[in-house]
Amino acid sequence: MSKKSGFMKALKCRECGREYPLEATHVCEFDFGPLEVAYDYDKIKKSLTKDALAKRPQTMWRFRELLPVAEEPTVGTGVGYTPLVKADRLAKWLGVREAWVKNDAVNYPTLSFKDRVVSVALSRARELGFDTVACASTGNLANSVAANAASAGLDSFVFIPADLEEGKILNSLIYGARVVGIRGHYDEVNRLCAEIAGKYGWAFVNVNMRPYYAEGSKSMAFEIAEQLNWKLPQHTVAPMASGSLLTKIHKGYQELIKLGLAKDTKPVVHGAQATGCSPISAAYKDGKDFFKPVKPDTIAKSLAIGTPADGFYALKVMKETGGASDDVSDDEIRDAMKALAECEGIFTETAGGVTVGTAKKLVASGKIPAEDSVVLCVTGNGLKTLDAVQGHVGKPDEIKPSLREFEELIEPDLKVKTK
């Protein structure tokens, strides 16, 4: 196990501020508050400069001083630096002056933003001497852990509810992960996974490695800022499941300000949810700083967390930055997925539909002023949720091998075009 700590100082409780050693631990023993990585920003300031960045490869690890690894990363070294697409046609659909899409639907290697958090968790797990990694997941996280562990030669366990669809299981099995289905209702599975995480000496990425894992999300904010030539966006819309991504995007922007890499232009962060699972958005609308747990019922399965662990902190960030939250129905999610595909050629999964659909609502309600600029965080690929749009995107026309039939078919379209 490495004794080095790199640019990290300690793990710190978000509630009481107590500090803990940089080990695989995740809650404060005093008040059970979540632990977060604290950094030595003076040391980082000397190392992370724009000149230094110019010489580094285009992956998320170019910001490695602000990521919780002690030495050079060893897992997922090619992750990140996904395109930031200027989305003029989508901006018109949204009704806003300028829109950008941060497209993690093409993140490497498993086509979701989870590759960011997993590569950080696994790199740190290796530094701490683990040879087995694990997670409890119903989708993107499982795929990413399985793939990144395979490429690093680590053993992996993936825990899933036993009734999960076969397609989602295959996406983890293919990488040789040991996939364990657990029978029982959601809370039982949840409790057992927490127990397993506590009992075995494994790096459970979203349990004992969580303080490191969650920090990976900040890289999305760093990249957005650099891709906008070090100007922080006026507005950022992020999807909310646990609420962690939104809080880390905010933390990422604040760190860049602290290091003098970007000016403090008061970036506003907004949160998007699906109406069928909207505890954070509902709390925001009610003006409360706590949320009521809900039973999820939405096509946006990757955001279906009824008791969001970081919900309280996400609400706090939105309040602090002047951000807002809204939610969209299943039909609005599909419409937004289609709009993003038709306007920008980007096929996102349902979570991306939630982000785009919610952004449209926020523009319509004036929470994002029409004359402003907005960055939308698209976190996963549409190929993973084909069932959500099946039967909602029309059918192909079918003709005999006859030119006459083809011409009859397209005649109405041609008439419209020549008008």
């Binding site: 409890a136 809370d187 409790r191 996974c193 008791t307 662990a309």
Partner: protein, 114 residues
């Protein structure tokens, strides 16, 4: 009859001995039902907010209850509870809480992610 009785006695003794042999030792019992501490978030729906559920739990099951954090409003009650006891008792206590209508999650809250 007498001969039969005589023959039956040793057979019963042997059977008793066999039962004794298969009875688990205290060590085996402890291994099968070890002591454990569960760290849980309990969520009380509105109708249960005024009920002394944690007290009831401690009366019904031989577990040590330790409230580590709590936030109770008119709408929802959130209690972070440590439950210490034999694994089976802790399991039964959690099942009882759920039957009572309290949602019980690990202190990590959501371990299962998408």
């Amino acid at each position: 009859m007498a001969a039969k009785k005589k023959a039956a006695k040793p057979a019963r003794k042997a059977a008793k001995k066999a039962v004794r042999k298969t009875k688990p030792t205290a060590k085996a019992k402890r291994a099968a039902n070890p002591r454990k501490t569960a760290r849980l978030w309990l969520m009380f729906p509105q109708r249960l907010i005024t009920k002394p559920v944690v007290w009831e739990l401690s009366q019904k099951f031989p577990v040590i209850t330790n409230v580590r954090q709590a936030s109770v409003t008119g709408e929802i009650g959130l209690v972070c509870l440590e439950l210490d006891g034999l694994a089976n008792d802790v399991k039964k206590a959690v099942a009882w809480l759920e039957r009572r209508g309290v949602s019980v999650e690990p202190v990590e809250i959501n371990v299962i992610e998408s």
